[in-house]
C-alpha cells in the first residue's frame, strides 16, 4: 500500500439528501483505511440522466465544471460514490476526448470562469479504490467483527459497469463480491447483479419501474439472501422505499437493502447508528451473535 492515499471527493446531491447514510458510512470507513477524501470545492450537480435528456452541450458543461475544479485542486484522482455521478463525469471526460466539437464548446464555456480541463483527472469509484489502491489484505486487517453467517446479494446496478467497464467486468462484476467475502460474509449467487432497478421510473411510471425493482428483490429472497448490498443511492432508495406499493401490486418481497460501506462499517466494529442504518425502511436484523465472539 502506498503511504498516503488522498483523493478529491465528489459526493453528488443524493449523498447530501436521500442517500446521506452512504456518505455517513463511506467517510469513516475510508478514514479507518488511511484514505483521505477531500470534498471538491463548490461542486455542482452532475446532471444525472435528466439534464442530458434536455440539452447535451449544457449537460457536458455542467459535469465538466466539476472536472475542471478537480484538475485545479491538484493531481489527485476524483472519487465519486454515486453511480449516476460516476457515469456522467466519466462520460463527459470521454466525450471531450472523443469529439472535438464537444471539447471546443465545453472549453469555451469553462473559460468564462477561468477554468480549463485537459482530461488528466481520472474519475473513480470507491470500489475501484478499495480493491486496487487499498487492497483486500489491508481491509482484512481492519475487520474486528467478521460478518459470519450473513448472506449477501451483491447488487451493482447499471451505471458503474456500463457502458465504461473501467475497473470491473460489464457482465459479471466481482469487486464487491470479493470485498464482501473479505469481510467474512457469504455472497449468494445473484445473476441479476447488473440489471436495472428502474431508475427514476419507480416514481414516474410505477407500473414499469417498480416491476423491475420487485424482480430484483424477489430474486434476492429466492436466493436466500439476508440483505442486498448496493453501491448507488437511487438503487438503495428504490429497493428499500417502495415495499408498501410492491406488496400491494405483486405480494411481499421484504429484504433490507444497505450500502456496501455500511456492511464494511459493521465489520470494522462500528454501530448501526453510526452508519445510518436506522434510516432504512426495512431494517437489517442484528448480526448473528456468534460473530461478536469470533
Amino acid at each position: 500500500m502506498k503511504d498516503a492515499l488522498k483523493y478529491s471527493y465528489f459526493p453528488g446531491c443524493s449523498l447530501k439528501g436521500l442517500g446521506r447514510s452512504y456518505e455517513q458510512s463511506l467517510l469513516p470507513v475510508m478514514r479507518r483505511l488511511g484514505v483521505e477524501l477531500v470534498e471538491l470545492d463548490d461542486w455542482n450537480c452532475c446532471g444525472a440522466t435528466a439534464y442530458m435528456s434536455v440539452d447535451e452541450a449544457q449537460a457536458c458543461v455542467l459535469a465538466a465544471r466539476n472536472l475542471a475544479i478537480a484538475e485545479k485542486t491538484g493531481p489527485r484522482d476524483l472519487v465519486t460514490p454515486c453511480s449516476a455521478c460516476y457515469l456522467v463525469l466519466n462520460k463527459t471526460k470521454h466525450n471531450m476526448a472523443d469529439f472535438p466539437e464537444i471539447n471546443q464548446t465545453v472549453q469555451h464555456a469553462l473559460k468564462s470562469a477561468d477554468l480549463t480541463y485537459s482530461g488528466k483527472v481520472p474519475v473513480r469509484h470507491p470500489l475501484d479504490v478499495l480493491i486496487n489502491d487499498v487492497g483486500l489484505d489491508v481491509i482484512k486487517e481492519k475487520v474486528v467483527r467478521p460478518l459470519k453467517g450473513l448472506k449477501v446479494a451483491p447488487y451493482y446496478g447499471c451505471q458503474i459497469v456500463r457502458p465504461y467497464a473501467t475497473f470491473d467486468d460489464a457482465w459479471n462484476p466481482t469487486t464487491m463480491d470479493r470485498l464482501l467475502t473479505t469481510l467474512g460474509a457469504e455472497v449468494v449467487p445473484y445473476p441479476l447483479k447488473t440489471k436495472c432497478c428502474g431508475g427514476s421510473l419507480t416514481g414516474t411510471v410505477p407500473e414499469a419501474g417498480l416491476r423491475l425493482t420487485y424482480i430484483l428483490l424477489k430474486e434476492a429472497v429466492r436466493r436466500g439472501a439476508d440483505v442486498i448490498a448496493t453501491v448507488c443511492p437511487l438503487c438503495q432508495f428504490n429497493l428499500d422505499g417502495y415495499h408498501d406499493q410492491i406488496d400491494r401490486r405483486w405480494g411481499p418481497a421484504r429484504i433490507p437493502t444497505v450500502y456496501f460501506t455500511q456492511l464494511m462499517g459493521l465489520a470494522f466494529g462500528m454501530t448501526p447508528e453510526e452508519l445510518g442504518l436506522k434510516s432504512n425502511f426495512v431494517s437489517m436484523k442484528p448480526l448473528p451473535a456468534e460473530s461478536t465472539t469470533v
Binding site: R65, G199, G241
Partner: protein, 199 residues
C-alpha cells in the same frame, strides 16, 4: 364508436433528412450500420412497455419517420441502463441515440405533455440551472404539482416514512457561485452545437 387508425407508414409520412440529422449528433454515427438483429429489444428491461421497442426505433429514425419517433413514449421509458449499448454487435450507442431523440422532442415541444418523465427532466434542468444542485424532495413536489397531484396522495406512506427515518428535507441546496455556473451554461448555447430554441 371504435376509432381506427392506419398502421402502415407511407412514404409521405417521412421527414426527409431526420435520420441524417440524428446520425450527425456526436456518438450517434454508427446507427447507419444497424443490422436490425433485435438484440437491443431483447436486452432492454423496459421494451415490454414501449410503443416501439428499440430495434424499431433504430429503423424508424434511419428511415426518417421523425413524428412517430419523437411523439413515442419509448424514448422516455429508456432508463439509461446501457444494456443495449454494451450488447449491440455493431457497437451502436443506442442509449445515446435515445438521448438525442429526447433532446429533439423537448426542443420541438412534441414530448407527451402530461407524461411525468419529460416533465421531471425539465424540472430537474431548471432547478440545476438556477441553484447548481438538486434537492430531491422539492423536485418530487414540483413533479407532482405539474403532472398528477392525486398521485402524491397515494405516496403519503412513503413521505411519512421519510419523515420518521429523518430523511425528509425541503431545504433548497445551492452552490456558492451560481452566477459562475449560469454564465458557463449560457456560453454553451443550446442543443448539440446546432442551436435550437426551447419552446
Amino acid at each position: 364508436m371504435m376509432r381506427i387508425e392506419r398502421t402502415i407508414k407511407y412514404e409521405g409520412d417521412r421527414v426527409r433528412g431526420f435520420g441524417k440529422e440524428i446520425m450527425s449528433v456526436p456518438g450517434c454515427e454508427l446507427l447507419q450500420s444497424c443490422i436490425q438483429c433485435g438484440t437491443c429489444s431483447g436486452t432492454c428491461p423496459l421494451s415490454i412497455y414501449m410503443d416501439f421497442p428499440p430495434r424499431q426505433v433504430m429503423a424508424l429514425v434511419r428511415a426518417d419517420f421523425k413524428n412517430e419517433v419523437l411523439r413515442s413514449r419509448t424514448v422516455w421509458l429508456c432508463a439509461s441502463c446501457y444494456a443495449c449499448t454494451v450488447e449491440c454487435p455493431r457497437q451502436i450507442r443506442i442509449t445515446d441515440i435515445m438521448y438525442a431523440l429526447k433532446q429533439r422532442a423537448i426542443q420541438e415541444g412534441v414530448y407527451p405533455k402530461r407524461f411525468p418523465i419529460p416533465v421531471l427532466a425539465k424540472e430537474f434542468f431548471e432547478m440545476v440551472r438556477r441553484h447548481g444542485r438538486i434537492s430531491e424532495m422539492l423536485l418530487v413536489a414540483r413533479l407532482f404539482l405539474k403532472t398528477n397531484w392525486f398521485a402524491a396522495m397515494g405516496s403519503w406512506r412513503l413521505g411519512l416514512g421519510l419523515i420518521t427515518t429523518g430523511r425528509f428535507s425541503v431545504r433548497q441546496e445551492h452552490i456558492r457561485r451560481p452566477a459562475e455556473l449560469g454564465a458557463m451554461l449560457a456560453a454553451a448555447g443550446k442543443g448539440n452545437g446546432k442551436a435550437k430554441e426551447m419552446p
